[in-house]
Symmetry: C2
Subunit: 308 residues, 2 copies
């Protein structure tokens, strides 16, 4: 990593790589899918949600961990982009299904109609199923030793499923109907599985594909956990004090929806301190990685001091 | 394979292996899942649908192909049962999501309330997502060389997703609202992807894990295609002439729902001939496998001359 590292330029370059790879993968899949109007509609719905922009945070952190631990150069990243695409597909499916009427019933996503509004409910369910399934096609297509692909694929599936994200969504739904309001421990538990597990898993998988040893994997895991927490608290803060133009979405929606957040439980100043503490813990977790931790450290500052 | 092979006894023994492995896997997953009432409900919904019986046809054909091609003995099957469980989890998720109100809106499945009726819609969507995700955890946990797991996992994900099942469901939904009624070519196309791809893929994956060469994989693929067709036509016939007590479900539901089937397009006699032709083609496809094809041949007779 260069001394005069420009985090914004790095993020932009990696986002471009990821966006191009996602578009190419959907184009390739569409060419070999069974023909028919129903399939065209399905693929259109998948692309509508997948290629709608977004931070590409999870695949980007995967690449950053891979580059850091494996000393992988930019011109060698192509082999790993299928895995990065798979991660983003899984994230996108979770947004589509979360927005469904039976779930959070959100009509808008990233300032546009959500998938079931732009298409219909059946198509949105199928588009989510298709992205979730195709994720594993992509993960296993990366150019890495088969043993590492198997290890990373299993870890990722567990964190995205019963061991993390799907269970987190179940906890979140349950909390909404619970008699007792959420306390801080409950909120942390939901976030750790609903959003934290996938972030953490993307980072750890980057390490696994790079051949990380056990100590490095543990460091990445703890970093991912703290980074996820800092990122989430920052999200909650921006929903109160953010600039709508920069965020691209209305602020104050958490309060309007009576949602329990770090700000509602800790106040703005308390939430700011908690975010700072998690950022410090994330940086501390990188210590054992030495020089290899510098890129992830720089990205922590970049993402947790963001204004969108 | 012994001369006096008893297909019914083989099927029963393999079903028992699969059922025990599924129950054990859910128990194991439940022990390591995040704690909480929401997760307990999610796991209960997954188990409700997964452990509800059923033929276990797909994992059974996977095991049969594996045993045939790899000369794997019964006492060596344990290592491969995780893969078999993953296949059944994927099949079960597809049933749960197909039954949803936005899809086929079926209140009953295997004579009991379908998942969204026994629980609720959000839980059913999540239970399907959980089973689909956990499928890949299981597939990649099988005790086979990593290269074979990667190859089989990719193939399976493609056939279960854009390349097969999810696209087939999209074609099926589209056909229901189409102005033109389905003809035979259209019906075959939908079945080939909606149900055929997963059956075929289970069989081919058995071959891949057993180290099948290209010719053997091609033979298994063609066998799977023809077997799937024969099985589906037999299904359609039993819906007309079957014995409700043996089937465990009402007959005549296809006609009552105005569903296009092989019987509605070909008549009972024509459908019987088509099933027979597909069975013959399935047996022919096994020719290149020689002695290794005998088990799958016997199972073809067993399943396509069944009365439930």
């Amino acid at each position: 990593m260069r001394q005069n590292f420009d985090a914004a330029a790095y993020v932009q370059a990696r986002q471009k790589l990821i966006n191009n790879a996602l578009a190419a993968e959907m184009e390739r899949a569409g060419r070999t899918a069974p023909p028919g109007a129903g399939v065209e509609r399905l693929l259109a719905a998948m692309e509508y949600s997948l290629l709608a922009g977004g931070k590409r945070l999870r695949p980007l952190l995967f690449l950053a961990a891979l580059e850091s631990i494996g000393q992988v150069e930019e011109n060698e990243l192509a082999a790993y982009l299928p895995f990065a695409c798979g991660i983003e597909m899984l994230h996108t499916y979770s947004l589509i299904h979360d927005d469904l009427p039976a779930m959070d019933n959100d009509a808008l996503r990233r300032g546009r109609p959500s998938c079931h509004k732009a298409f219909d409910e059946a198509t949105a369910i199928l588009a989510g199923d298709g992205l979730l399934t195709h994720c594993f096609c992509c993960l296993l297509a990366a150019g890495a030793p088969a043993e590492r692909l198997v290890q990373a694929g299993r870890y990722f599936a567990w964190q995205a499923g019963i061991g993390g994200m799907v269970s987190g969504q179940a906890l979140d739904i349950d909390a909404e109907t619970a008699a007792e309001p959420l306390n801080l421990a409950g909120l942390r538990k939901i976030h750790a599985s609903k959003t934290g597990a996938l972030l953490e898993s993307a980072i750890v998988c980057g390490g696994i594909l790079a051949g990380a040893d056990e100590a490095q994997k543990q460091a990445l895991k703890e970093f991912g956990r703290q980074f996820g927490l800092a990122f989430q608290i920052t999200d909650d803060i921006l929903d109160v004090v953010g600039d709508e133009a920069k965020l691209g979405k209305p602020v104050g929606s958490d309060a309007a929806n009576n949602k329990t957040t770090y700000v509602s439980l800790l106040g703005l100043a308390g939430a700011g301190q908690a975010a700072q503490a998690a950022m410090t813990a994330a940086r501390d977790a990188l210590e054992p990685l030495g020089e290899s931790g510098r890129l992830l450290g720089a990205l922590t500052d970049y993402y947790c001091r963001r204004d969108n």
